[in-house]
Each structure stands twice: as structure tokens, then as C-alpha cells.
């Protein structure tokens, strides 16, 4: 705060750049592909905890231009499996301290998160999650319409809707955050510690010799390196193709939209799996809304009218009084879906090529913990226990993780 006052009194002298531009060096110890929250967090923690600062983050557009800037900013840790809960819980804890850690307010608003249940089966699933969460030490419980009404009076809790609300999983620490700020904060933190952030730098090839990575080709030149981290989310299969690592991943569009700004009326995050809706009201007053992934595979970032139609219809099922609220803007992102709705993190058959991919619709929630643990993996050359269940080989070993119930539309 004092900094701001001083800046104001100084007649607004130029503020320092948050990250600098550099020429591409001939070689880096670590090359991170993807300038989103995962890649930048990994760079930040490599520098901060492991003293590895000769690091390049390569971003083909501008930082945060992929999923990190396109998600609906919801954070939570009320997952279904013990592996999932432990992992996302660490992520939430990192997020809770992120503003102070980065000295950049990422506007984390822990306003509470409600996953609605519209059927007996959904109530059972919510109870399952609540029970698992409580035993794992995560604040989460099954609540019923009277309590839901207190948290979110605008919801239609009557028996009239096509799918009446029977209960909800209430997760008080869940909430929303300013997603771009997380990206910028990590970028600044990494830059301060010597990491080079290269925007408009697209990887065009990766050279492997004797099954070891030796260099990365980009549109701006070739970089020698023995360690590459693929953190490219929706585009990860294309990067993995460059080293012949096959992923059980399909890329699907995921769409979202915002309304015009309204005075605050929605204080919690509302998610309905049956209606394929999640919604929160940002600090700017906009309703930020999304649905489940599009059913077809595509790398397209085009929006569809059908998305707006079905989302609006379902929103009005939940909130009939919003029929005259206007949609301002819609967009799409690309999600890298795995068969078990859990990520793929760790080593690959190619030496010096590690992945942090398969993030589907929930990658943003895991940015900090993924960055921290992938940095640890790169620095120590061993897989941290927390991310061990997410190894690539699990699809061949049949050791899948059962997050589908909590992750499919569970934002």
C-alpha cells in the first residue's frame, strides 16, 4: 500500500517492468514449453527453491494466452479420491499464500463453493465427496435446501424446476481468483530470479539423440538443453509428437462466457453437474459462466451459439430472475482430456523430456502445486510422492485414478 502512495506522490514515475525481454540464449539448463500458470510456476519454483535460474519459458503467443487466461477461475480441493484431495489441497494452500509470496495481489476470494445435487444419485456422490474430504481434513459437507437458501437466496429451491435442487456439497474454502494475476505474478517472480520469458516464441521441433533430449527448435532459433518440460495443456500432444511420446489424451474445446457487470448478488460459486453449469460473480460484478467440454475433439478456439443457448437455459433453471441479464462475451479454450480425469505428470520414456499435461478442465486449480512439484522433480531427478500416482505408465499398468465423478463438470 505504501508503495502505491509513494508512487502517487512521486508524480507517477515509471513503474518497473514486471518481466523483461531477452534474446534467446544458445543454451538453457531447463526449457519450459508453455507460458501459462503451470510453466511459469515451475520456472518460479525452480529458481526460488532449487537455485536453477538458467531457465527459459517459451510461449508461442503471450503469457497466459491459453487455458490460464481462459478458465473460469474457480479453485477448490473437494475432490473424490485421496490422491486428488491431497494434491489439490496443497494447491489451495499455496494459493492462499500466493499474494504475499509473490507480493502481488491475486485477489483470491474464498467465498465458498457449492456443488448442487439434483438427483438421489448426485446426493450420494456429494455425500461420498464430503465424507472423503472430512477424513482428509478438507472443509466440506453435504447441506440441504434450507441452508443453501441462506448462502444463495437467488437460487430456485422450489420443487418447480425440471431438476429440483435436493442438496449440495458445500466447500467453504473454495472460491475464485484473478487468473491473469496469478500468471503475471509468477512471471514477475520468475523474471526477478533470472528466468527468461520468451513470448511469441513457438517450438517447432525437439531434437533427441540416443533417446536423450539435446535441443529445442523454435521460430526464433535453436536452444541446447538437456531438460524440457512440456506444459502446453490443450496442445501437449503436438509437442509430445515431436519426441514420439504417445499420450492417451484427446483435446476438446471448452467454452465460457461473462455477463455485463451487476451489483453483487451472488456470493458463492455455484456448480451444477446435471445442468452442466458453473457460475460465480467476479469482483468486477460480471457473472463468469462455463459448461462441460464440447463433445467433439478439436483445437478450434471458435465459440458456438449452441453453447450460449444451452448454458443460458440451464442458468435460468437455477436462477429464473436472471432472464434479462445480458451475455457480454464468449470464448473457448482447448482442454487435454485423459481417460481418468486426472493429469499426467512426470518422466517419459525420453530422457530429459518431462510432462505436466492432461489437465483437462481443472488445470488452473493445480497450477501452483504442479509447478512446485515439477520443479522438485526436475531439480532432484526423482518423482515427488504427491504426484507419483499421476505417472504416465498408469494407463498401461491399469492404475487409473477415479476422479471422474468429481472432475467431469465439477468446477
Amino acid at each position: 500500500m505504501w508503495k502505491l502512495i509513494r508512487h502517487g506522490l512521486n508524480g507517477n514515475k515509471p513503474l518497473p517492468r514486471m518481466w523483461r525481454t531477452h534474446d534467446l540464449k544458445d543454451s538453457y539448463d531447463v526449457v519450459i514449453i508453455g507460458g501459462g500458470v503451470h510453466g511459469l510456476a515451475a520456472a518460479y519454483y525452480l529458481a526460488k527453491y532449487h537455485g536453477i535460474t538458467n531457465v527459459a519459458v517459451l510461449e508461442k503467443r503471450y503469457i497466459g494466452s491459453g487455458g490460464s487466461g481462459r478458465n473460469t477461475t474457480i479453485l477448490r480441493s473437494n475432490y473424490l479420491t485421496p490422491e486428488g484431495v491431497a494434491f489439490y489441497d496443497e494447491s489451495i494452500k499455496l494459493y492462499e499464500n500466493l499474494s504475499v509470496d509473490l507480493d502481488f495481489n491475486v485477489l483470491f476470494s474464498q467465498r465458498g463453493h457449492l456443488t448442487l445435487a439434483h438427483s438421489d444419485a448426485a446426493v450420494r456422490t456429494m455425500r461420498w465427496r464430503a465424507e472423503v474430504n472430512q477424513i482428509q481434513g478438507v472443509n466440506s459437507s453435504l447441506i440441504y435446501p434450507d441452508e443453501i437458501a441462506k448462502l444463495c437466496p437467488h437460487l430456485d429451491l422450489s420443487e418447480h424446476p425440471r431438476y429440483p435442487i435436493l442438496g449440495a456439497l458445500y466447500h467453504p474454502p473454495g472460491g475464485i481468483i484473478r487468473h491473469d494475476a496469478v500468471v503475471w505474478g509468477y512471471a514477475r517472480g520468475a523474471d526477478e530470479r533470472g528466468v527468461h520469458i520468451h513470448q511469441l516464441t513457438e517450438v517447432t521441433g525437439i531434437n533427441v539423440e540416443n533417446n536423450k533430449v539435446i535441443s529445442v527448435q523454435t521460430n526464433c532459433g535453436t536452444i541446447k538443453t538437456g531438460m524440457v518440460l512440456n506444459a502446453t495443456a490443450g496442445w501437449c500432444s503436438l509437442i509430445c509428437d515431436m519426441v514420439d511420446v504417445k499420450l492417451p489424451i484427446t483435446s476438446h474445446p471448452l467454452q465460457a462466457c461473462v455477463s455485463e457487470a451487476l451489483k453483487p448478488f451472488l456470493d458463492v460459486v455455484i456448480v451444477s453437474g446435471s445442468l452442466h453449469v458453473y457460475v460465480s460473480q467476479s469482483d468486477r460484478g460480471e457473472l463468469v459462466m462455463g459448461a462441460s467440454i464440447d463433445p467433439y475433439q478439436s483445437y478450434s478456439l471458435d465459440s458456438t451459439l449452441g453453447f450460449l443457448e444451452s448454458l443460458s437455459g440451464h442458468m435460468l433453471e437455477l436462477f429464473p430472475s436472471l432472464s434479462r441479464v445480458k451475455i457480454l462475451r464468449q470464448w473457448a479454450g482447448v482442454c487435454d482430456m485423459t481417460p481418468d480425469y486426472s493429469p499426467i505428470m512426470g518422466f517419459t520414456p525420453v530422457e530429459g523430456f518431462v510432462v505436466d499435461v492432461g489437465w483437462g478442465t481443472y488445470g488452473f486449480k493445480a497450477g501452483p502445486v504442479s509447478g512446485k512439484r515439477m520443479a522438485e522433480l526436475i531439480a532432484t531427478n526423482r518423482t515427488p510422492d504427491l504426484i507419483a500416482p499421476f505417472y504416465l505408465g498408469r494407463f498401461e499398468d491399469g492404475a487409473l485414478i477415479g476422479e471422474k465423478g468429481a472432475a467431469s463438470v465439477g468446477h
Partner: protein
């Protein structure tokens, strides 16, 4: 309450759209105002002398009418329960309750406007730099910040209203009814194409509706009205007014909105003739009320007869600016001065203005405006000498440039390119079915606009298959090309070397030049990052007003050209659309069985089962259970998935989709089948009966029905050549299950054509018969564990058969039973429900269904995964349990043991089903346990509502373990 009369109207003219005979009253911020029919809220308020319409987003500065075209955020108001209404395009209605937005406590006294006094402490990205420590205070700060944000309000009691959708299909759709669109529509219509013309105003004509320039001896508005009238004469043309196209999606799928209707239009060819937005200038205090765009002033004068000031200063950079000055003079406004940004303005108009003794400053722009609450004077600055001239005024008319309304073209895949020749963005690389004409393509001179329109109309018609005039097209195309090369700028953008105070680049979000400069200094130097950090162009106008200025300012501070700087992505919708219109009527169908009304009439409590409504129970579920166990019951199972499979390839298909064997199923026999996913996870179960050599009948679970159908279709279409015809008859067949020891007696009374004896019709077989003259399919299977018959019949006869069975069963005490009783019955028998007792990872071995998996048969879906799972062995098992102390756990309660977790527990399993069994008089259920704990007699701990309770493993099934009842 003070009544303010409509004052300041000009005499009637033919271009005006108000009906002075009809007067309507409405309320704005508690005061009653009078308007004429045809007025917009804004025109009526301006006529009444209102200058402040709203308070701005961040600094709560006064904002007045600026664009009068529905683009800018300044005139947003709350109308009743609707927030963010554009008052300049919303017709006044009698009794309307209009309120100003974002004013605390009122429009005139807004305490939040004090924020602008400390704006030097509020740099770009202020929030990111403040309130970081102490961390514990952030939630408090946030609450305050949230309250300050947002514009309109939500009324929780607001009635949803009626919204619906309209579907259209045409050869050529023309978006925009100005001169370009009208010419295009006429040309396409003459070619014979079916044409739709959409315009967002109440009548076509575009900017000519409010222009007086003489064209072909007629005033512009009459000239264009004639064009529109000609179009009305075509039977193959539909004109949609008050209709805004909001998005162009894949393959010319166009979304448009008219009132409470969403129009969904598929067109072979699309012509975008959406005109241009007039854009504001950057200077100190450029947001004061009383500063208006030239087109806004012309709209006020010519459409509503309203004069928004008495003493004006005009800043112009094109013909229309000068014309607007002449219009002001004609309306009786005194022009204090006219600043013309060009060196050599149009001589003809300058002559006319000089004749009116207007003081004209060439190569001059505006440096600053001043005033308290409204514009009271301006400083003009010579771009040659820097000399300053000051003038008092109550209206500043700014008409210095345009940006094409080309969002639909961008959405269609066009690439934006800065055109230095005309100082506007133009688009190229349009797809072959999209055409641009007129101001949307940055062409502003009327004869060129009309030519481009005609060309686009002919080309679009040709694309849609209505060709012919090839020579004409060639000629026009050449001429258009030639004229485009000769275009001169209609837009002047002057970015002064340094930023001024309160020079707003973005009026939606209150972003000044200084904030953009700071953002760029901090590294947000690409337009996309700049947008996200400074929030420039992210407000209600979505960049319509600010984008061009923002890009110029960005280029200026980066010391780059505008072409190098580029543009941001324009996203749909073009203008904000209500969720009501987008959602329309809720199209979530309710599926009911033919017996639904009977259930309701007989007191059934219904439940949702996916899309279906099903009876949960009629009375006491325990009594329904006892009826089935002791006598006979009848349940409606119509929601079951039901499929006809015909052809010699059926056994092969069944072998692929099911895990068990199907090559040897005799005609008249039924077999249980289990399906798994490629990952080996239990997906669905059901039975398949062989009715004839090449005819099979399959059932699937109610919730799995549509997925299983798709899955089988996928198998049929994905390279394996099964000779199978698959038909989904789920909706064509009603189904019911007659269950209980007396069910054979009930059937015997009314069935013909079948020997019901156990020997002739044993368990797991199928027969075709008739009941009361109706053909039925009879499957002797049993989910309940009793002797039972599943009866399938054409759905039209469902109720008939249902009632016949009930009547026949009267003497045996027949009872209808619902889903709850069925759940208890099946649990007593130890049958699993897929996706309740199994989850997203369960394989059949764990679920105790290894008997249904034949790993030695040829390939089937999931075989590879199951082979692997089988090798690994089973680490957990689904088993039956009972509660010795009678506690009823909740389904999904966790089975735990002491461990290292935060509350000292480790999860080792969970309860999936539990009920108190009326038959066995104890609490029974199914649960997952580690294999080593799954032997009957072993005990385990369940966390039930936070308490630790003991369960005991017991063998399955709980009821009739030898299956004597089923086979009786």
C-alpha cells in the same frame, strides 16, 4: 412530484419518428417526464434537459449521452428489473420506471466520485498492488471493493418472462439496412434469391435516415426510404427490423435477436453491411456530459426533433462533421467555433459554413474541455502552431472518425489489417460465402457504398446459385477495386505527445491514457496483455468506442506503428444478449411412461430418474416389498433401454459389446449380459433374449439406455462389418414387471398362447403371447428374486395391459410397487445397481461378477484391460454386510481404520447401498472392502455421521441364496 414537460423540440419534419399526438409519461430517478410516442428514453431525457445519465464504473464521474447508437456505456440505465438497458435505443413506454445506475446515493450527489480526487494513487493494476498485507484483512477489503463494482441491479423476484426462438433459412442474408445493405438486398432479390435483410433500427435506412444531404434531388432520408420501399415490393425478400445480428458462427449460422426472440438463421451467403461506429477523441475531460458524437447529434435533431444544446463547438475531420455543423445551425444552435482536423476540408461545405459566419480553424483539434458536471468550454489547439483558442459552449460535437462495425466479418475468419491509407482497420481473407459492403468495409462515400452493396448482392446471389450477371459483376468489381484504391481518410486520430488529465481511452472502465502508459511500462506491451491488465475494452461496449484509440496509444508508447501493434480478438456477441433470449423456452423434455397418469392418480410419489419421471412409492415401501415377497406386485419398468437387433451378425455384435458368451443362445432363451468400457470399468448390464433365428431383443439400464445405443451404433459404424440392423425401441415399448409367488396365477387368468408351467417356460426364457388380445413379449427374469415376468408391449397398449394385470391380480392381493421397494428387493437378493454400487473404476472381478467375464473368448470391448486386471488380482471387493446394532448408515459413508490422516483415520472402503430389510428384519447393504477383510464374519468400522459403527460381512445374497423362488 415535479412534472417536467418535454421542451426544446424542433418543428415537425418528415424525418422525425415521434408521434406528437401521443404523449407518454415515464419516471426517471423518481421524477416524472413526458415523452412522445417514438421517443427513446434518451431522446425524451435530452429533450427535457437531462444531461447526466449515469455514473462511471470506477470514478463515478457524470456521463451523458455520447453515441446515441447503443454502442457506448454512458446511457445505461436500470429499467424496472432489467439492468444495463441502453436508453438511447430503448423506446419509451408509458409508466416505465427508469433509474440511473452506479450512483451512490444519487446521480447528482455521488460520494464515490471522490475516488477521482485520489486517482494518482490508483495506478493501472491498482488492485494487484494493494491490500496484500495483512493477509487477514483482504476479505474485508474485498467486500468493500465488490460493493463498489458492478452497474445494474438484480431483482430476485423478477418474473422470467416469455422467451422463444425463431428459425430461418435463406439464400442470402443481409445484415444492416443502410444504403449498402439495401442495394445488396435489391441486387440479390432481383437475381431471384430468397433474401432476409436485418436491421437493428425500427426502419431501414441506416445513417441516411438522419441526414439531410441532397441526393438525386431528394433529402437523404427520402432517398433511402424510396430504396427501402422498392425492396418491400419483392415477395422473395423478408425485412426484419429491430433485429440485431449478434454472431456469425461456423458455416454461416447467424444468431440474431429481436425483442425476446433469438433468431437462428442459416444462410448460403452472408452480406455484412453493418456500417461503422463513430468514435470519440482523446483529450482532457473528454467524458463530460455535453460532449456528443456528430451522428448522435444528428439522430437527436432529425429523428426526435431534439436539440441537445444552444452554443456548440464542433470538431470535425470529414464531410459528415461539417454537415452536422450545418444541421446545428439549421436547428438554431449557435456555433462558437469549428475545429477541422484536416488541412484541406471539403470546399463546398466550408463555403456554406463560412456563409453562416462560422469561425473555422483548419488543422486544429481539441486539447481540453472543462466544466463542472457538464461541458462549459473547450480549448482548441492548432496542429500547426500549437496556438490555443478557448471558447465557452454547452455542446461539443465531435465527428472525427469511424471504425467499421466488422465484428461479424472477424468472427467469420477475416483477418484484420490496419489500412494506413484510410486510417481504419479493414478485413481480408474472408471465406467465400461472406461478403462485406459499405462502411463495414471502411467505405464512406455514398455512391461507393451503394456500388459495393450492389456488387456484394450480386456476388452473394451468385454464390447461392442465382448467377447470370457475370459481366456486371466483373465491371462493378473492377470499379470497386479502383475506388477503394482512391479512398481518402474519414478518420483522423491525433495522439498528443503526452497524456493529459482525465483523458479517457476507455469510458466503460474509466481507463485513462496514463494508465495505459503505466501498463506498457510494466511490460503489458502487447494489445492483448494490455487489455487484460488495464481492462481497456473489457466493458459494456466491448471496444466499439475505445479500441482504436487504445491501439494508437499503445503504438505511441511502444514507438511502433499501428499495423505492428495489431488488434485484439473480437468475440461474440456483437451486442450483449439476454440469457432469456438465448435460453428460450426450456427444452429439457420430461419422459413419462404410458402408465404415468395412472400412477399419479393412484397417489404415486414421483421421482426424477434422468429424464424420466418414475413412481418412487405409492404407499409404504415396506408394505410394497412384503406384497411382492408374499403375494404379487407390479412395477412399471418402461424406462429400461430396449433394442431390436436383427440380422445374422447379432451374435458377433453381442460378443463384442458384452463380456460373456453369445454364440450359443437358443431361440426362446434369455441371458444376462455385462458391458465394460475400454478401460474395463463396469458400464451397464441387462438381458438379451433371442426371439427368432435372426431377431434379438436387448434391454439396458434406464440411465444407460441412450449411451448403450450410441455405443452399439459406434461399433456398427466403426469398421467391423456386423450385418445387424439396430433399432432403439425404448420409447415404442412399455414394460412392466409382475413379481411374486402368485404372478403365474395372475398371468394364467388373462394370457393366451403360452404354456406358463415351469417346465415349458423356465427361468431365463422368453415367449411371445397375447394378453387381452394384445401381443406381448414375456421374459421370465427377476431382479426382485421372486418368480417374475417382465412384460413388454407396444407403448400404446401399456396402460391397457397394466390395468388388465391389476384387475386379474385383485383376487391375489396384487399391489403396484415403486422404485424404492424395488431397490430393497434387489438389495435383499444381492443384485448390484451399476454406478451406485460400482464407480468410475470398478472392474467386474471386484464387483464379484467374474462369472460374467469370459477372457478366453475373442476380442471384446475392454478385454485388454480386463486381462491386465485379472493378472493383477483383486485388492478390493464388493460384499454384503449387516449392521449388528441396527444402525442405518448413509449410502456413501466411509469404511475406515486408524491411520495418519488429519483426523486419525484412513479410508479403506465405503458403503454403496443400505436399507432396512422388511423381509429379513435387519439392516443390510453392499460395501467395498479390502480383499483381506471381505470374508463373511469379518467386522469393520463405518464412520456414520461422524460416529464409529461396526458392520459385519455376510454372504450374498441375503435372500433365497439357492434361487428356489426364481426357479419355482
Amino acid at each position: 412530484m415535479a412534472i417536467q414537460a418535454a421542451v426544446g423540440r424542433l418543428p415537425e419534419t418528415p424525418s422525425q419518428v415521434i408521434n406528437r399526438e401521443k404523449i407518454v409519461d415515464f419516471v426517471f430517478d423518481g421524477k416524472t417526464y413526458t415523452a412522445y410516442e417514438g421517443d427513446t428514453i434518451a431522446s425524451a431525457l435530452v429533450a427535457a434537459g437531462v444531461m447526466t445519465f449515469s455514473r462511471s464504473f470506477k470514478y463515478h464521474r457524470r456521463r451523458g449521452l455520447l453515441c446515441a447508437a447503443g454502442a457506448c456505456p454512458n446511457c445505461l440505465v436500470q429499467v424496472g428489473d432489467e439492468a444495463n438497458v441502453r436508453s438511447c435505443t430503448t423506446p419509451v413506454q408509458a409508466g416505465m420506471k427508469v433509474e440511473a445506475q452506479n450512483a451512490m446515493p444519487s446521480l447528482d450527489v455521488d460520494v464515490m466520485s471522490a475516488t477521482q480526487l485520489v486517482d494518482s494513487f490508483l495506478p493501472a493494476g491498482f488492485y494487484y498492488k494493494a491490500f496484500i498485507r495483512p493477509q487477514a484483512l483482504w476479505p474485508t477489503y474485498e467486500r468493500f471493493l465488490r460493493q463498489a463494482a458492478g452497474l445494474g441491479k438484480i431483482d430476485p423476484d423478477s418474473e422470467p418472462g416469455y422467451f422463444d426462438k425463431i428459425y430461418k433459412h435463406v439464400d442470402v442474408a443481409v445484415i444492416g439496412g443502410g444504403p449498402a445493405g439495401l442495394r445488396a438486398a435489391l441486387a440479390a432479390a432481383k437475381s431471384g434469391a430468397r433474401v432476409i435483410l436485418m436491421d437493428d433500427q425500427s426502419s431501414p435506412g441506416g445513417h441516411l435516415r438522419y441526414r439531410m444531404d441532397e441526393i438525386d434531388g431528394l433529402p437523404a432520408y427520402e432517398y433511402v426510404a424510396k430504396m427501402a420501399a422498392e425492396l418491400v415490393g419483392f415477395s422473395n425478400v423478408e425485412i426484419l427490423t429491430n433485429t440485431t445480428a449478434v454472431g456469425r458462427y461456423d458455416r454461416n449460422w447467424v444468431g440474431a435477436v429481436t425483442g425476446n426472440r433469438l433468431i437462428k438463421l442459416r444462410t448460403k451467403a452472408l452480406i455484412v453491411a453493418t456500417g461503422a461506429y463513430e468514435i470519440p477523441l482523446l483529450f482532457e475531460n473528454n467524458d463530460l456530459p455535453g460532449i456528443m458524437l456528430g451522428s448522435a447529434v444528428q439522430r437527436m435533431i432529425h429523428l426526435w426533433g431534439v436539440v441537445p444544446g444552444a452554443r456548440a463547438v464542433v470538431v470535425s475531420a470529414n464531410r459528415r462533421g461539417l454537415q452536422a455543423a450545418l444541421d446545428l445551425i439549421a436547428a438554431g444552435v449557435h456555433i462558437e467555433a469549428l475545429a477541422e482536423m484536416r488541412e484541406e476540408p471539403d470546399a463546398d461545405l466550408i463555403r456554406k459554413l463560412s456563409a453562416e459566419h462560422v469561425m473555422i480553424f483548419k488543422r486544429t483539434t481539441i486539447k481540453r474541455a472543462w466544466g463542472i458536471g457538464k461541458v462549459q468550454g473547450v480549448s482548441l489547439e492548432s496542429l500547426h502552431s500549437g496556438q490555443i483558442h478557448e471558447f465557452p459552449c454547452d455542446l461539443l460535437l465531435v465527428s472525427t472518425g469511424y471504425t467499421p462495425a466488422n465484428q461479424l466479418l472477424f468472427q467469420a475468419g477475416g483477418k484484420l489489417r490496419w489500412n494506413e491509407q484510410i486510417h481504419e482497420f479493414t478485413l481480408d481473407m474472408l471465406p467465400s460465402d461472406v461478403f462485406a459492403a459499405g462502411e463495414a468495409a471502411a467505405t464512406h462515400l455514398l455512391e461507393d457504398i451503394e456500388r459495393e452493396g450492389e456488387l456484394a448482392g450480386l456476388q452473394a446471389a451468385q454464390f447461392a446459385g442465382f448467377g447470370g450477371k457475370i459481366e456486371k459483376v466483373t465491371f462493378l468489381a473492377a470499379k470497386v477495386e479502383e475506388r477503394r484504391a482512391e479512398r481518402i481518410p474519414w478518420t483522423q486520430i491525433h495522439i498528443a505527445e503526452d497524456e493529459a488529465k482525465k483523458d479517457f481511452v476507455c469510458i466503460c472502465e474509466d481507463v485513462t491514457r496514463k494508465e495505459i502508459k503505466q501498463s506498457i511500462q510494466e511490460g503489458f506491451d502487447s494489445v492483448e496483455l494490455l487489455k487484460r491488465y488495464s481492462t481497456v475494452s473489457m466493458g459494456p461496449c466491448q471496444g466499439k468506442m475505445c479500441n482504436i484509440n487504445a491501439i494508437h496509444v499503445c503504438a505511441h508508447y511502444n514507438q511502433k506503428t499501428v499495423a505492428e501493434t495489431g488488434n485484439t480478438t473480437s468475440r461474440p456477441p456483437v451486442t450483449p444478449v439476454t440469457m432469456g433470449a438465448l435460453g428460450g423456452r426450456l427444452m429439457e423434455p420430461v419422459r413419462v411412461s404410458p402408465m404415468h397418469d395412472w400412477h399419479v392418480k393412484h397417489g404415486a410419489v414421483m421421482m426424477n430418474a434422468g429424464l424420466w419421471k418414475r413412481p418412487d412409492h405409492y404407499g409404504d415401501p415396506s408394505a410394497e416389498v412384503r406384497a411382492v415377497r408374499e403375494r404379487v406386485g407390479l412395477i412399471d419398468v418402461t424406462p429400461l433401454g430396449k433394442f431390436h437387433l436383427r440380422g445374422p451378425g447379432v451374435p458377433g455384435l453381442l460378443e463384442r459389446v458384452y463380456t460373456n458368451r453369445w454364440q450359443k443362445l437358443d431361440v426362446g432363451r434369455v441371458r444376462y449380459g455385462l458391458m465394460v468400457t475400454e478401460e474395463g470399468v463396469v458400464l451397464d448390464d441387462g438381458v438379451t433374449a433371442r426371439l427368432d433365428d435372426d431377431f434379438y431383443y436387448m434391454t439396458a439400464t434406464s440411465s444407460g439406455a441412450s449411451g448403450i445405443f450410441e455405443n452399439m451404433e459406434w461399433n456398427l459404424q466403426s469398421g467391423w462389418s456386423y450385418d445387424v440392423h439396430l433399432l432403439n425401441v425404448t420409447d415404442l415399448r412399455a414394460a412392466m414387471n409382475l413379481a411374486g409367488p402368485r404372478s403365474r396365477d395372475v398371468l394364467a387368468k388373462i394370457i393366451q398362447g403360452v404354456d406358463l408351467s415351469n417346465a415349458a417356460f423356465p427361468y431365463m426364457s422368453v415367449r411371445q403371447a397375447t394378453i387381452a388380445g394384445i401381443p406381448v413379449l414375456l421374459l421370465r427374469i427377476g431382479f426382485t428374486g421372486e418368480l417374475s415376468y417382465e412384460i413388454h408391449t407396444p407403448s400404446g397398449y401399456g396402460l391397457h395391459i397394466w390395468e388388465a394385470l391389476l384387475k386379474a391380480g385383485e383376487e391375489f392381493g396384487i399391489t403396484p410397487f415403486g422404485v424404492e421397494a424395488q431397490r430393497i428387493l434387489r438389495l435383499e437378493k444381492g443384485h448390484i445397481i451399476v454406478s451406485q454400487d460400482t464407480d468410475g473404476l470398478t472392474n467386474p472381478f471386484e464387483a464379484g461378477m467374474e462369472w460374467a467375464v469370459k477372457l478366453d473368448k475373442q476380442d471384446f470391448t475392454g478385454k485388454a484391460s480386463l486381462l491386465m486386471a485379472n493378472q493383477k488380482g483383486v485388492t478390493k471387493k464388493l460384499v454384503g454386510f449387516e449392521m449388528p446394532d441396527g444402525t442405518i448408515p448413509e449410502e456413501a459413508n466411509q469404511i475406515v481404520r486408524p491411520g495418519n490422516g488429519p483426523i486419525g483415520l484412513e479410508i479403506i472402503g465405503r458403503i454403496t447401498s443400505v436399507r432396512r430389510s422388511p423381509t429379513l428384519k435387519k439392516v443390510i447393504g453392499l460395501c467395498w472392502l479390502p480383499t483381506e477383510m471381505s470374508e463373511p464374519g469379518q467386522e469393520f468400522t463405518i464412520r456414520v455421521r461422524g460416529q464409529m459403527k461396526t458392520g459385519r460381512v455376510v454372504p450374498l445374497p441375503f435372500y433365497d441364496p439357492d434361487g428356489l423362488k426364481l426357479n419355482s
